[in-house]
Protein backbone atom coordinates (compact mmCIF):
# COMPACT_ATOMS: atom_id res chain seq x y z
CA UNK A 1 0.00 0.00 0.00
CA UNK A 2 1.19 3.47 -0.78
CA UNK A 3 2.41 5.65 2.02
CA UNK A 4 0.77 9.01 2.55
CA UNK A 5 2.35 11.79 0.54
CA UNK A 6 4.23 14.69 1.99
CA UNK A 7 1.63 17.26 2.81
CA UNK A 8 -1.30 14.96 2.13
CA UNK A 9 -2.70 14.83 5.58
CA UNK A 10 -5.45 12.26 5.79
CA UNK A 11 -6.68 13.70 9.07
CA UNK A 12 -6.56 17.44 8.36
CA UNK A 13 -9.88 19.30 8.21
CA UNK A 14 -10.74 20.36 4.69
CA UNK A 15 -12.06 23.87 4.06
CA UNK A 16 -15.41 23.97 2.22
CA UNK A 17 -13.81 26.03 -0.55
CA UNK A 18 -11.12 23.39 -1.14
CA UNK A 19 -13.63 20.54 -0.92
CA UNK A 20 -15.95 22.06 -3.51
CA UNK A 21 -13.08 22.97 -5.85
CA UNK A 22 -11.72 19.42 -5.73
CA UNK A 23 -15.01 17.62 -6.15
CA UNK A 24 -16.44 19.87 -8.85
CA UNK A 25 -13.27 19.77 -10.95
CA UNK A 26 -12.77 16.02 -10.71
CA UNK A 27 -16.41 15.34 -11.51
CA UNK A 28 -15.98 17.45 -14.63
CA UNK A 29 -12.86 15.44 -15.52
CA UNK A 30 -10.40 18.31 -14.99
CA UNK A 31 -7.60 18.86 -12.51
CA UNK A 32 -8.61 20.95 -9.49
CA UNK A 33 -6.83 24.28 -9.11
CA UNK A 34 -6.47 23.90 -5.39
CA UNK A 35 -6.37 21.15 -2.75
CA UNK A 36 -4.45 18.60 -4.87
CA UNK A 37 -2.53 17.52 -1.76
CA UNK A 38 -5.72 16.02 -0.32
CA UNK A 39 -6.05 13.69 -3.29
CA UNK A 40 -2.50 12.92 -4.42
CA UNK A 41 -1.33 9.33 -4.05
CA UNK A 42 1.94 7.54 -4.83
CA UNK A 43 4.93 9.20 -6.54
CA UNK A 44 6.49 10.17 -3.23
CA UNK A 45 10.03 10.01 -4.68
CA UNK A 46 9.03 12.22 -7.58
CA UNK A 47 7.43 14.77 -5.25
CA UNK A 48 10.53 14.76 -3.03
CA UNK A 49 12.76 15.36 -6.06
CA UNK A 50 10.65 18.32 -7.07
CA UNK A 51 10.63 19.69 -3.52
CA UNK A 52 14.41 19.81 -3.71
CA UNK A 53 14.11 21.68 -7.02
CA UNK A 54 11.73 24.20 -5.50
CA UNK A 55 14.08 24.80 -2.58
CA UNK A 56 16.93 25.38 -5.01
CA UNK A 57 14.86 27.92 -6.99
CA UNK A 58 13.85 29.72 -3.79
CA UNK A 59 17.53 29.82 -2.91
CA UNK A 60 18.29 31.74 -6.11
CA UNK A 61 19.17 28.68 -8.20
CA UNK A 62 17.54 27.12 -11.24
CA UNK A 63 15.82 23.86 -12.17
CA UNK A 64 14.25 22.11 -15.13
CA UNK A 65 12.23 18.90 -15.25
CA UNK A 66 10.53 17.13 -18.09
CA UNK A 67 7.56 15.34 -16.52
CA UNK A 68 6.94 12.44 -18.86
CA UNK A 69 3.95 10.13 -18.62
CA UNK A 70 1.48 8.23 -20.77
CA UNK A 71 -1.92 9.66 -21.62
CA UNK A 72 -4.07 9.73 -18.49
CA UNK A 73 -1.21 8.95 -16.12
CA UNK A 74 -1.74 12.20 -14.20
CA UNK A 75 0.92 14.55 -15.58
CA UNK A 76 -1.30 17.60 -15.39
CA UNK A 77 -2.38 16.70 -11.87
CA UNK A 78 1.27 16.29 -10.89
CA UNK A 79 2.19 19.68 -12.41
CA UNK A 80 -0.66 21.36 -10.53
CA UNK A 81 0.40 19.67 -7.31
CA UNK A 82 3.97 20.93 -7.66
CA UNK A 83 2.68 24.35 -8.64
CA UNK A 84 0.61 24.60 -5.46
CA UNK A 85 3.59 23.47 -3.35
CA UNK A 86 5.70 26.13 -5.08
CA UNK A 87 3.14 28.78 -4.09
CA UNK A 88 3.23 27.52 -0.51
CA UNK A 89 7.00 27.92 -0.58
CA UNK A 90 6.68 31.57 -1.56
CA UNK A 91 7.45 31.23 -5.27
CA UNK A 92 5.46 32.95 -8.00
CA UNK A 93 4.10 30.58 -10.65
CA UNK A 94 2.95 30.89 -14.25
CA UNK A 95 1.40 28.09 -16.26
CA UNK A 96 -0.01 27.42 -19.71
CA UNK A 97 -0.77 24.60 -22.09
CA UNK A 98 1.09 24.68 -25.37
CA UNK A 99 -1.29 24.73 -28.33
CA UNK A 100 -0.88 25.34 -32.05
CA UNK A 101 -1.23 29.04 -31.25
CA UNK A 102 1.02 29.06 -28.21
CA UNK A 103 4.63 28.05 -28.67
CA UNK A 104 8.06 28.77 -27.30
CA UNK A 105 9.39 29.99 -30.60
CA UNK A 106 7.48 31.46 -33.54
CA UNK A 107 7.31 34.37 -35.91
CA UNK A 108 3.56 34.95 -36.16
CA UNK A 109 2.79 35.98 -32.60
CA UNK A 110 2.40 32.46 -31.13
CA UNK A 111 5.27 32.89 -28.67
CA UNK A 112 3.91 36.21 -27.45
CA UNK A 113 0.54 34.51 -27.16
CA UNK A 114 2.12 31.88 -24.89
CA UNK A 115 3.70 34.64 -22.79
CA UNK A 116 0.34 36.44 -22.48
CA UNK A 117 -1.32 33.23 -21.31
CA UNK A 118 1.46 32.58 -18.80
CA UNK A 119 1.18 36.08 -17.38
CA UNK A 120 -2.63 35.91 -17.19
CA UNK A 121 -2.15 32.82 -15.01
CA UNK A 122 0.59 34.37 -12.89
CA UNK A 123 -0.16 33.36 -9.32
CA UNK A 124 1.15 33.97 -5.82
CA UNK A 125 0.29 32.17 -2.62
CA UNK A 126 -2.30 34.82 -1.85
CA UNK A 127 -3.71 34.87 -5.40
CA UNK A 128 -3.48 31.22 -6.42
CA UNK A 129 -6.04 31.55 -9.21
CA UNK A 130 -3.91 33.92 -11.28
CA UNK A 131 -4.17 37.56 -12.32
CA UNK A 132 -1.44 38.56 -9.85
CA UNK A 133 0.88 40.69 -12.03
CA UNK A 134 -0.30 43.94 -10.42
CA UNK A 135 0.00 42.38 -6.96
CA UNK A 136 3.65 41.48 -7.57
CA UNK A 137 4.43 44.96 -8.90
CA UNK A 138 2.63 46.60 -5.99
CA UNK A 139 4.40 44.43 -3.45
CA UNK A 140 7.70 45.54 -4.98
CA UNK A 141 6.70 49.21 -4.95
CA UNK A 142 5.19 48.92 -1.45
CA UNK A 143 8.50 47.74 -0.01
CA UNK A 144 10.30 50.59 -1.85
CA UNK A 145 7.77 53.06 -0.43
CA UNK A 146 8.44 51.81 3.08
CA UNK A 147 12.18 52.08 2.62
CA UNK A 148 11.79 55.60 1.23
CA UNK A 149 9.73 56.62 4.27
CA UNK A 150 12.19 55.12 6.72
CA UNK A 151 15.18 56.78 5.10
CA UNK A 152 13.41 59.99 4.19
CA UNK A 153 14.58 59.40 0.62
CA UNK A 154 12.78 59.97 -2.68
CA UNK A 155 10.78 56.94 -3.85
CA UNK A 156 12.09 57.35 -7.40
CA UNK A 157 15.66 57.06 -6.19
CA UNK A 158 14.94 53.93 -4.15
CA UNK A 159 13.11 52.34 -7.09
CA UNK A 160 15.92 53.17 -9.48
CA UNK A 161 18.46 51.72 -7.08
CA UNK A 162 16.50 48.48 -6.68
CA UNK A 163 15.90 48.11 -10.40
CA UNK A 164 19.55 48.57 -11.37
CA UNK A 165 20.21 44.84 -11.52
CA UNK A 166 17.35 44.39 -14.01
CA UNK A 167 18.52 47.19 -16.28
CA UNK A 168 21.75 45.28 -16.91
CA UNK A 169 19.90 42.28 -18.34
CA UNK A 170 18.66 41.87 -21.92
CA UNK A 171 15.51 43.99 -22.24
CA UNK A 172 15.87 44.99 -18.62
CA UNK A 173 16.05 48.73 -19.16
CA UNK A 174 12.53 48.95 -20.55
CA UNK A 175 11.25 46.44 -17.99
CA UNK A 176 12.55 48.70 -15.21
CA UNK A 177 11.06 51.75 -16.95
CA UNK A 178 7.65 50.10 -17.04
CA UNK A 179 7.75 49.22 -13.33
CA UNK A 180 8.72 52.82 -12.57
CA UNK A 181 5.81 53.97 -14.78
CA UNK A 182 3.44 51.93 -12.61
CA UNK A 183 4.68 53.83 -9.57
CA UNK A 184 4.31 57.17 -11.34
CA UNK A 185 0.76 56.22 -12.31
CA UNK A 186 -0.03 55.53 -8.68
CA UNK A 187 1.71 58.66 -7.45
CA UNK A 188 -0.04 60.93 -9.98
CA UNK A 189 -3.42 59.21 -9.70
CA UNK A 190 -3.08 58.16 -13.36
CA UNK A 191 -4.93 54.84 -13.61
CA UNK A 192 -4.36 54.66 -17.36
CA UNK A 193 -0.60 54.68 -16.87
CA UNK A 194 -0.86 51.93 -14.26
CA UNK A 195 -3.09 49.88 -16.52
CA UNK A 196 -0.70 50.36 -19.48
CA UNK A 197 2.26 49.26 -17.36
CA UNK A 198 0.46 46.06 -16.37
CA UNK A 199 -0.59 45.48 -19.98
CA UNK A 200 3.04 45.78 -21.08
CA UNK A 201 4.23 43.36 -18.41
CA UNK A 202 1.50 40.92 -19.44
CA UNK A 203 2.69 41.07 -23.06
CA UNK A 204 -0.52 42.68 -24.27
CA UNK A 205 0.99 45.45 -26.40
CA UNK A 206 1.12 44.30 -29.99
CA UNK A 207 3.03 47.23 -31.50
CA UNK A 208 6.08 49.19 -30.41
CA UNK A 209 4.41 52.42 -31.47
CA UNK A 210 1.56 51.93 -28.98
CA UNK A 211 4.00 51.02 -26.22
CA UNK A 212 6.10 54.09 -26.93
CA UNK A 213 3.07 56.37 -26.85
CA UNK A 214 1.71 54.88 -23.65
CA UNK A 215 4.88 54.29 -21.67
CA UNK A 216 7.79 55.84 -23.53
CA UNK A 217 9.55 52.50 -24.03
CA UNK A 218 10.99 51.26 -27.31
CA UNK A 219 10.37 47.55 -26.94
CA UNK A 220 7.48 45.18 -26.31
CA UNK A 221 7.26 41.53 -25.36
CA UNK A 222 7.27 39.69 -28.66
CA UNK A 223 8.12 36.33 -30.20
CA UNK A 224 11.84 36.99 -30.01
CA UNK A 225 12.16 37.75 -26.32
CA UNK A 226 9.76 35.43 -24.47
CA UNK A 227 12.50 33.62 -22.55
CA UNK A 228 14.41 36.84 -21.78
CA UNK A 229 11.21 38.31 -20.35
CA UNK A 230 10.67 35.26 -18.15
CA UNK A 231 14.24 35.63 -16.87
CA UNK A 232 13.58 39.29 -16.12
CA UNK A 233 10.34 38.48 -14.37
CA UNK A 234 11.99 35.84 -12.22
CA UNK A 235 14.60 38.39 -11.08
CA UNK A 236 11.83 40.89 -10.47
CA UNK A 237 9.87 38.47 -8.27
CA UNK A 238 12.96 38.12 -6.07
CA UNK A 239 13.34 41.87 -5.86
CA UNK A 240 9.68 42.04 -4.77
CA UNK A 241 10.36 39.59 -1.94
CA UNK A 242 9.27 36.26 -3.45
CA UNK A 243 11.52 33.23 -3.83
CA UNK A 244 11.52 33.18 -7.63
CA UNK A 245 9.43 32.02 -10.58
CA UNK A 246 8.23 28.54 -11.54
CA UNK A 247 7.12 28.17 -15.17
CA UNK A 248 4.82 25.20 -15.83
CA UNK A 249 4.24 24.26 -19.46
CA UNK A 250 1.91 21.38 -20.26
CA UNK A 251 0.88 19.55 -23.44
CA UNK A 252 4.31 19.77 -25.04
CA UNK A 253 3.09 17.06 -27.38
CA UNK A 254 1.89 20.03 -29.44
CA UNK A 255 5.49 20.70 -30.42
CA UNK A 256 5.88 17.08 -31.47
CA UNK A 257 2.79 17.54 -33.61
CA UNK A 258 4.35 20.41 -35.56
CA UNK A 259 4.77 18.97 -39.02
CA UNK A 260 7.12 21.67 -40.20
CA UNK A 261 10.68 20.68 -39.37
CA UNK A 262 11.91 24.23 -39.14
CA UNK A 263 9.16 25.28 -36.73
CA UNK A 264 9.75 22.20 -34.59
CA UNK A 265 13.52 22.71 -34.51
CA UNK A 266 13.08 26.34 -33.56
CA UNK A 267 11.04 25.32 -30.55
CA UNK A 268 13.47 22.56 -29.56
CA UNK A 269 16.31 25.06 -29.86
CA UNK A 270 14.51 27.30 -27.39
CA UNK A 271 14.10 24.32 -25.03
CA UNK A 272 17.83 23.62 -25.38
CA UNK A 273 18.63 27.20 -24.44
CA UNK A 274 16.43 26.96 -21.35
CA UNK A 275 17.88 23.55 -20.48
CA UNK A 276 21.47 24.76 -20.79
CA UNK A 277 20.81 27.83 -18.65
CA UNK A 278 19.07 25.71 -16.01
CA UNK A 279 21.68 22.97 -15.89
CA UNK A 280 24.56 25.42 -15.86
CA UNK A 281 22.86 27.43 -13.13
CA UNK A 282 22.96 30.71 -15.03
CA UNK A 283 19.26 31.42 -14.38
CA UNK A 284 18.45 33.04 -11.07
CA UNK A 285 15.40 31.89 -9.11
CA UNK A 286 13.85 30.36 -12.21
CA UNK A 287 12.48 26.85 -12.71
CA UNK A 288 10.71 25.05 -15.56
CA UNK A 289 8.34 22.10 -15.43
CA UNK A 290 7.49 20.69 -18.84
CA UNK A 291 4.79 18.03 -19.19
CA UNK A 292 4.72 15.68 -22.17
CA UNK A 293 4.16 12.15 -23.37
CA UNK A 294 6.90 9.56 -24.00
CA UNK A 295 6.61 10.11 -27.78
CA UNK A 296 7.26 13.81 -27.34
CA UNK A 297 10.49 12.97 -25.55
CA UNK A 298 11.78 9.85 -27.21
CA UNK A 299 10.55 9.76 -30.78
CA UNK A 300 13.77 10.03 -32.76
CA UNK A 301 12.05 11.50 -35.82
CA UNK A 302 9.92 14.22 -34.24
CA UNK A 303 10.40 14.20 -30.49
CA UNK A 304 13.07 15.93 -28.40
CA UNK A 305 15.38 13.01 -29.19
CA UNK A 306 15.31 14.09 -32.83
CA UNK A 307 17.43 17.05 -31.76
CA UNK A 308 20.84 15.60 -31.04
CA UNK A 309 21.91 18.17 -28.45
CA UNK A 310 18.73 17.49 -26.48
CA UNK A 311 18.95 13.71 -26.88
CA UNK A 312 22.42 13.61 -25.39
CA UNK A 313 21.42 15.79 -22.47
CA UNK A 314 18.13 14.03 -21.75
CA UNK A 315 19.14 10.41 -22.34
CA UNK A 316 18.20 8.07 -19.55
CA UNK A 317 20.85 7.18 -16.97
CA UNK A 318 22.28 3.90 -18.35
CA UNK A 319 22.46 2.41 -14.88
CA UNK A 320 18.83 3.23 -14.03
CA UNK A 321 17.43 0.01 -15.44
CA UNK A 322 15.68 -3.08 -14.12
CA UNK A 323 13.73 -1.18 -11.49
CA UNK A 324 16.65 1.05 -10.46
CA UNK A 325 15.62 4.70 -10.50
CA UNK A 326 17.36 8.05 -10.72
CA UNK A 327 15.37 11.11 -9.68
CA UNK A 328 18.21 13.59 -10.16
CA UNK A 329 18.19 13.83 -13.96
CA UNK A 330 16.13 16.39 -15.87
CA UNK A 331 13.64 13.75 -17.03
CA UNK A 332 11.09 12.42 -14.58
CA UNK A 333 9.11 9.43 -15.83
CA UNK A 334 5.77 9.19 -14.06
CA UNK A 335 4.73 5.61 -13.50
CA UNK A 336 1.06 4.72 -13.93
CA UNK A 337 -0.97 4.25 -10.80
CA UNK A 338 -1.21 0.77 -9.31
CA UNK A 339 -4.51 -0.75 -8.03
CA UNK A 340 -3.24 -0.23 -4.47
CA UNK A 341 -2.66 3.45 -5.18
CA UNK A 342 -6.10 3.77 -6.71
CA UNK A 343 -7.56 2.30 -3.53
CA UNK A 344 -5.80 5.03 -1.52
CA UNK A 345 -7.04 7.61 -4.01
CA UNK A 346 -10.65 6.47 -3.53
CA UNK A 347 -10.15 6.66 0.23
CA UNK A 348 -8.82 10.20 -0.15
CA UNK A 349 -11.82 11.16 -2.28
CA UNK A 350 -14.19 9.71 0.30
CA UNK A 351 -12.33 11.72 2.93
CA UNK A 352 -12.55 14.96 0.94
CA UNK A 353 -16.24 14.35 0.24
CA UNK A 354 -16.82 14.04 3.99
CA UNK A 355 -14.92 17.36 4.53
CA UNK A 356 -12.21 15.46 6.37
CA UNK A 357 -14.53 14.04 9.02
CA UNK A 358 -14.39 10.21 9.11
CA UNK A 359 -17.74 9.93 10.90
CA UNK A 360 -19.37 11.37 7.76
CA UNK A 361 -17.97 8.71 5.38
CA UNK A 362 -20.72 7.50 3.10
CA UNK A 363 -19.00 4.21 2.21
CA UNK A 364 -17.04 1.57 4.12
CA UNK A 365 -13.66 0.28 2.83
CA UNK A 366 -15.45 -2.85 1.69
CA UNK A 367 -17.46 -0.75 -0.76
CA UNK A 368 -14.27 0.74 -2.22
CA UNK A 369 -12.95 -2.74 -2.97
CA UNK A 370 -16.27 -3.76 -4.51
CA UNK A 371 -16.27 -0.59 -6.61
CA UNK A 372 -12.78 -1.33 -7.92
CA UNK A 373 -13.76 -4.90 -8.79
CA UNK A 374 -16.79 -3.59 -10.65
CA UNK A 375 -14.63 -1.13 -12.62
CA UNK A 376 -12.07 -3.81 -13.37
CA UNK A 377 -14.77 -6.02 -14.90
CA UNK A 378 -16.04 -3.14 -17.03
CA UNK A 379 -12.86 -1.61 -18.44
CA UNK A 380 -9.99 -3.88 -17.39
CA UNK A 381 -6.78 -2.42 -16.04
CA UNK A 382 -7.52 1.01 -17.58
CA UNK A 383 -9.57 1.71 -14.46
CA UNK A 384 -6.39 2.34 -12.49
CA UNK A 385 -3.95 3.24 -15.28
CA UNK A 386 -6.07 6.13 -16.60
CA UNK A 387 -8.31 6.75 -13.62
CA UNK A 388 -10.19 9.85 -14.75
CA UNK A 389 -13.41 7.93 -15.57
CA UNK A 390 -13.12 5.84 -12.42
CA UNK A 391 -12.82 8.97 -10.29
CA UNK A 392 -15.81 10.57 -11.96
CA UNK A 393 -17.95 7.48 -11.49
CA UNK A 394 -16.91 7.21 -7.86
CA UNK A 395 -17.78 10.85 -7.14
CA UNK A 396 -21.14 10.43 -8.86
CA UNK A 397 -21.81 7.43 -6.65
CA UNK A 398 -20.97 9.49 -3.55
CA UNK A 399 -23.19 12.34 -4.75
CA UNK A 400 -26.17 10.01 -5.14
CA UNK A 401 -25.58 8.44 -1.74
CA UNK A 402 -25.37 11.89 -0.17
CA UNK A 403 -28.59 13.11 -1.69
CA UNK A 404 -30.51 9.87 -1.20
CA UNK A 405 -29.88 8.83 2.37
CA UNK A 406 -31.96 5.67 2.02
CA UNK A 407 -29.98 4.34 -0.95
CA UNK A 408 -27.74 1.28 -0.42
CA UNK A 409 -24.35 1.28 -2.17
CA UNK A 410 -24.67 -2.39 -3.12
CA UNK A 411 -27.84 -1.64 -5.10
CA UNK A 412 -26.23 1.32 -6.88
CA UNK A 413 -22.96 -0.36 -7.78
CA UNK A 414 -24.38 -2.51 -10.59
CA UNK A 415 -25.64 0.62 -12.34
CA UNK A 416 -22.25 2.37 -12.42
CA UNK A 417 -21.37 2.80 -16.08
CA UNK A 418 -17.90 3.66 -17.31
CA UNK A 419 -15.86 3.25 -20.44
CA UNK A 420 -12.11 3.14 -21.03
CA UNK A 421 -10.66 6.51 -22.02
CA UNK A 422 -9.01 7.03 -25.35
CA UNK A 423 -6.07 9.28 -26.03
CA UNK A 424 -7.30 12.26 -28.09
CA UNK A 425 -3.79 12.61 -29.53
CA UNK A 426 -4.22 9.23 -31.16
CA UNK A 427 -7.63 9.93 -32.63
CA UNK A 428 -7.91 10.55 -36.36
CA UNK A 429 -7.28 14.12 -37.39
CA UNK A 430 -10.45 15.91 -38.60
CA UNK A 431 -10.77 16.15 -42.34
CA UNK A 432 -11.44 19.89 -42.38
CA UNK A 433 -9.00 21.77 -44.56
CA UNK A 434 -7.40 24.60 -42.63
CA UNK A 435 -6.92 27.90 -44.36
CA UNK A 436 -3.26 28.85 -44.42
CA UNK A 437 -2.25 31.71 -42.16
CA UNK A 438 0.10 34.54 -43.03
CA UNK A 439 3.11 32.56 -41.89
CA UNK A 440 1.81 29.31 -43.24
CA UNK A 441 4.46 28.92 -45.86
CA UNK A 442 7.03 28.34 -43.20
CA UNK A 443 5.06 27.18 -40.20
CA UNK A 444 1.76 25.68 -41.18
CA UNK A 445 2.17 22.40 -39.65
CA UNK A 446 0.89 22.84 -36.20
CA UNK A 447 -2.59 22.66 -37.57
CA UNK A 448 -4.32 19.33 -38.01
CA UNK A 449 -3.38 17.80 -41.31
CA UNK A 450 -6.16 17.00 -43.73
CA UNK A 451 -6.83 13.39 -44.52
CA UNK A 452 -4.67 11.98 -47.34
CA UNK A 453 -7.40 12.28 -49.95
CA UNK A 454 -7.98 15.94 -49.16
CA UNK A 455 -4.37 16.93 -48.73
CA UNK A 456 -3.00 19.33 -51.26
CA UNK A 457 0.26 18.62 -53.06
CA UNK A 458 1.65 21.78 -51.49
CA UNK A 459 1.32 20.37 -48.01
CA UNK A 460 3.48 17.45 -49.07
CA UNK A 461 6.08 19.75 -50.52
CA UNK A 462 6.21 21.78 -47.36
CA UNK A 463 7.90 19.10 -45.36
CA UNK A 464 8.74 15.51 -45.88
CA UNK A 465 6.95 14.72 -42.64
CA UNK A 466 3.81 16.72 -43.25
CA UNK A 467 1.87 13.56 -43.97
CA UNK A 468 2.55 12.38 -40.46
CA UNK A 469 -0.63 11.94 -38.47
CA UNK A 470 -1.12 10.81 -34.94
Amino acid sequence: MTEPQPGSSAQKAIRPRDRDAILQSLRAGVVPRRGQQFVQVGRSEEVRALLRDLDRIADGGSAIRFVIGEFGSGKTFFLFLIRSIALEKGLVTVHADLTPDRRLQASGGQARSLYTELMANLATRTKPDGGAVASVVERFVTSALQEAREKGAAVDAILQDRLTSLAEMTGGYDFAEVVAAYWRGHDQGNDQLKSDAVRWLRGEFSTRTDARKALGVRTIVDDDNLYDQLKLFSRFTRLAGYGGLLVCLDELVNLYKLANTQARSGNYEQILRILNDSLQGTSVGLGFLLGGTPEFLMDTRRGLYSYEALRSRLAQNRFATEGRKDFTGPVLHLANLSPEELFVLLRNLRHVHASGEPEKYLLPDEALVAFMEHCSKRVGEAYFRTPRSTIRAFLELLAVLEQNPGAAWRDLLGGVELAAESNPDLEPVPEAVIEPTSESTSETAIQPQPAPAARSPRADEDDELSSFRL
Partner: protein
Protein backbone atom coordinates in the same frame (compact mmCIF):
# COMPACT_ATOMS: atom_id res chain seq x y z
CA UNK B 1 4.54 44.22 9.64
CA UNK B 2 5.02 47.97 9.20
CA UNK B 3 2.84 50.32 11.23
CA UNK B 4 0.77 51.56 8.25
CA UNK B 5 -0.24 48.00 7.52
CA UNK B 6 -1.01 47.29 11.17
CA UNK B 7 -3.31 50.32 11.33
CA UNK B 8 -4.87 49.25 8.03
CA UNK B 9 -5.44 45.79 9.45
CA UNK B 10 -7.23 47.20 12.48
CA UNK B 11 -9.55 49.14 10.24
CA UNK B 12 -10.21 46.09 8.08
CA UNK B 13 -11.19 44.17 11.21
CA UNK B 14 -14.25 46.36 11.64
CA UNK B 15 -16.21 44.59 8.90
CA UNK B 16 -16.50 41.03 7.62
CA UNK B 17 -16.44 42.06 3.96
CA UNK B 18 -15.28 45.08 1.97
CA UNK B 19 -16.02 46.27 -1.51
CA UNK B 20 -12.92 46.70 -3.68
CA UNK B 21 -13.43 50.47 -3.92
CA UNK B 22 -13.53 50.73 -0.11
CA UNK B 23 -10.22 48.86 0.16
CA UNK B 24 -8.70 51.20 -2.43
CA UNK B 25 -9.83 54.25 -0.44
CA UNK B 26 -8.52 52.77 2.77
CA UNK B 27 -5.15 52.02 1.17
CA UNK B 28 -4.96 55.57 -0.21
CA UNK B 29 -5.65 56.94 3.26
CA UNK B 30 -2.52 55.18 4.51
CA UNK B 31 -0.47 56.00 1.41
CA UNK B 32 -0.40 52.31 0.37
CA UNK B 33 -1.09 50.50 -2.87
CA UNK B 34 -4.16 48.27 -2.46
CA UNK B 35 -2.90 45.08 -4.12
CA UNK B 36 0.51 45.47 -2.54
CA UNK B 37 -1.04 45.91 0.90
CA UNK B 38 -3.34 42.89 0.44
CA UNK B 39 -0.36 40.83 -0.70
CA UNK B 40 1.77 41.80 2.31
CA UNK B 41 -1.08 41.27 4.81
CA UNK B 42 -1.97 37.87 3.35
CA UNK B 43 1.70 36.83 3.28
CA UNK B 44 1.89 37.65 6.98
CA UNK B 45 -1.31 35.63 7.54
CA UNK B 46 0.16 32.66 5.69
CA UNK B 47 3.37 32.84 7.71
CA UNK B 48 1.50 32.98 10.98
CA UNK B 49 -1.67 30.92 10.40
CA UNK B 50 -1.13 29.01 7.16
CA UNK B 51 -4.09 30.65 5.40
CA UNK B 52 -4.95 34.04 3.89
CA UNK B 53 -6.79 36.68 5.92
CA UNK B 54 -8.39 38.43 2.95
CA UNK B 55 -9.97 36.66 0.00
CA UNK B 56 -11.87 37.83 -3.07
CA UNK B 57 -11.53 40.36 -5.88
CA UNK B 58 -14.65 42.52 -6.12
CA UNK B 59 -15.73 41.83 -2.56
CA UNK B 60 -12.89 41.16 -0.16
CA UNK B 61 -13.86 38.95 2.76
CA UNK B 62 -12.07 38.94 6.10
CA UNK B 63 -11.60 35.49 7.64
CA UNK B 64 -12.67 36.00 11.25
CA UNK B 65 -10.74 33.02 12.59
CA UNK B 66 -7.48 34.10 10.97
CA UNK B 67 -8.04 37.66 12.16
CA UNK B 68 -8.42 36.39 15.72
CA UNK B 69 -5.21 34.37 15.44
CA UNK B 70 -3.31 37.30 13.97
CA UNK B 71 -4.57 39.71 16.59
CA UNK B 72 -3.66 37.36 19.45
Amino acid sequence: MRHELRYGLRRLARKGAWERIEVERLAAEFGLMPDGALEVINEAAFERCGAPLLEGDETIEVDGQILEEMSA
